[in-house]
């Protein structure tokens, strides 16, 4: 009963936040457009480079043809869009400007407004990105061999990927409580992401030891895994292992986030909010 009330209150909060985010985003159409270009451009560059390489080296690199790379990076662009967060840039600003004080006075955990804000802006931009993906598909003629079960498994995999990435980046964003040099931490994080999430190249192109590292660390489970899954590049056993790894990372992040948040607020409220 209590849980139901709690759920209903949160649902109202999320739908109201959606209206707010929507109204705010409409105020910034130009910056929205620029952001769109950048989120399309990066995977597009990898796509073109790897297609050229595979054509040049006899039609295939690491099991990917030019059309295979096209499929990989078009789906990658969409998965990245769904799981993307900007919270790590925002927290330092919040702490420094004292905006966090306003959030701390509210009788709700601040993570809720961040999640709902994130999901809302995704809902708004996703249709446009789907259009761009369709356009890219027409140009680059991607090829993949998805199966019915891999498409079905993609749905929970994408959701879990979002959760792992959001929770992890939200936790990292809390570093702003301890240091004002957050950008250094962010740089390290993005380099790891570049290599271990399947961003600069699909993970199967890397040496074996990097693939093992990618399996142990969370990055692959936030991006590369759902992409490979939906393209039909994984066996059922690999798919189950992947979903399991994602669930483990979600649970771990939820535990860590609790501790880090409490410790962070303690620091914040000790040094002067």
């Amino acid at each position: 009963m209590n849980l139901l009330l709690e759920f209903r209150a949160l649902r109202r909060l999320y739908s109201q936040q959606f209206k707010t985010t929507f109204a705010t985003m409409l105020q910034y159409r130009a910056s929205l457009f620029i952001w769109m270009i950048s989120s399309v451009l990066e995977p597009l560059i990898y796509l073109v480079v790897w297609s050229t390489v595979s054509t040049g080296s006899g039609g295939s690199v690491g099991g990917y043809t030019a059309a295979g790379f096209a499929a990989y990076y078009i789906v990658f662009m969409l998965v990245n869009q769904v799981t993307y967060t900007w919270i790590m840039w925002e927290y330092e600003y919040r702490v420094r400007q004292g905006l966090l004080s306003v959030a701390l006075l509210k009788p709700v955990h601040p993570i809720h407004s961040d999640i709902s804000d994130n999901l809302s802006s995704k809902l708004i931009t996703l249709p446009i990105l789907l259009g761009i993906a369709a356009l890219l598909a027409l140009i680059f003629k991607p090829a993949a061999s998805p199966t019915w079960w891999s498409v079905l498994a993609f749905i929970p995999a994408l959701l879990l990927a979002f959760l792992v990435r959001f929770l992890l980046e939200w936790t990292l964003a809390l570093a702003a409580f301890w240091t004002t040099r957050v950008s250094a931490i962010n740089q390290v994080y993005f380099v790891l992401m570049l290599f271990l999430a399947g961003q600069i190249a699909p993970l199967t192109l890397f040496p074996h030891w990097i693939q093992i590292l990618a399996d142990i660390l969370p990055f692959r489970w936030m991006l590369g895994f759902p992409v490979e899954l939906v393209l039909g590049r994984l066996t059922p056993a690999q798919a189950w292992q992947g979903l399991g790894a994602q669930v483990i990372w979600v649970i771990l992040s939820l535990i860590v986030i609790r501790f880090v948040w409490r410790a962070g607020v303690r620091v914040y409220s000790a040094v002067g909010a």
Binding site: A9, R12, L13, Q16, Q17, K19, T20, A23, T24, Q27, Y28, G98, L99, S101, V102, L104, L105, K106, P107, V108, R266, S269, A270, V271, G272, A273
Partner: protein, 323 residues
């Protein structure tokens, strides 16, 4: 005696701030060996506020007012002592506690910048889980009291400072908090707007019986709203009592204004002459001598009019802080 709405007992807050000399060398040494300086922002503060009271919280910049308000609203953890607001320990930040208080800080904004204030109000409605009927009712009342009607639909960034402040205050009060902490609510506003906000605070307190603790550098705010004031300096309690008692305690002087038929008389034998123009002379005399000096003035001189006053409150406050 009813349970106090706000209760502080020997509350302390010490900040540890890194300290270093200017220059390259000091910068290098501070990398390895940080010298920490302890700053006592709030030092053994004890007072109670009764439910429904409006109290002025005074002190110069850096006296510890904002630090105290932040501790009472749960943003800061004290380093010692105890505090209760409506029976809760503020820094535990329990939801039931947060739903019953508010803190308005002059420069902080809780309104979303790019959208109309009405939309931010809606967000607060779901955050505080206000029943629709209550929300509409309170919003209607606040709109009337603060004259928000024409402002609600404009994006917040297009509002003037005063208009924005009114909306900020409304947003902070939509959940009808029982305890209201106001940190410089009238800072930077023109006289008309200040008066408006002041009248509103009095009305809110009267209508909902809310307890209000208010800091302001405008003595007009304090004189209009607060019977009782609490004065702190360097984090320590200097005075807690009626505003009139503050004047009594901290001024050893009264001013006597006499209007004479001519201006030629030299009055420095009666007291310190502060001002003299058009036959209107302002004297400062020790409080104990007020009666005898007045008597002598009336007997000796062709007095048309005579007025005995306490010095202006600004002057009193200034004396409190410099003494």
């Amino acid at each position: 005696m009813p349970q106090p709405a706000v209760h502080l007992h020997e509350l302390c807050k010490t900040y540890r701030v890194p300290e270093r000399e200017p220059g390259m060398r000091a910068a290098m040494t501070s990398l390895f060996h940080r010298k920490m300086l302890e700053v006592k922002a709030v030092d053994d503060l004890t007072f109670d506020l009764a439910p429904g009271e409006i109290v002025g919280f005074l002190g110069p910049n850096g006296a510890g007012k904002t630090t105290t308000l932040k501790m009472l609203s749960g943003l800061l953890h004290p380093t010692g002592g105890e505090g209760r607001v409506l029976g809760s320990i503020p820094w535990k930040r329990e939801r039931t506690f947060l739903r019953q208080i508010t803190l308005v800080m002059g420069q902080r904004n809780q309104l979303v910048w790019d959208i109309p204030a009405a939309d931010s109000f809606e967000l607060n409605r779901v955050i505080y889980r206000l029943p629709d009927a209550d929300f509409r009712h309170t919003l209607k009342e606040l709109t009337e009291l603060l004259d928000l009607g024409p402002l609600l639909k404009k994006p917040v960034r297009n509002l003037s400072l005063g208009e924005r402040m009114k909306c900020e205050i409304a947003a902070a009060l939509l959940h009808r908090p029982q305890v209201v902490f106001l940190d410089e609510p009238t800072i930077g506003l023109d006289v008309t707007m200040q008066r408006r906000i002041r009248a509103f605070i009095a009305e809110y307190n009267h209508r909902y019986g809310a307890t209000v603790l208010l800091t302001s550098h405008y003595m007009a705010d304090v004189e209009a709203l607060c019977k009782r004031v609490i004065v702190i300096h360097h984090g320590r309690l200097l005075f807690d009592g009626d505003l009139s008692a503050l004047v009594q305690q901290f001024t050893a002087h009264k001013t006597i204004v006499v209007q004479l038929e001519d201006c030629l008389a030299d009055l420095h034998t009666y007291g310190e002459v502060i001002n003299c123009e058009d036959g209107r002379i302002t004297l400062r005399v020790p409080k104990a001598k007020t009666a005898s000096v007045t008597e002598r003035l009336l007997a000796d001189l062709p007095v048309i009019d005579l007025l005995v006053e306490d010095p202006p409150i600004e002057e009193v406050i200034d004396q409190v802080f410099t003494s």
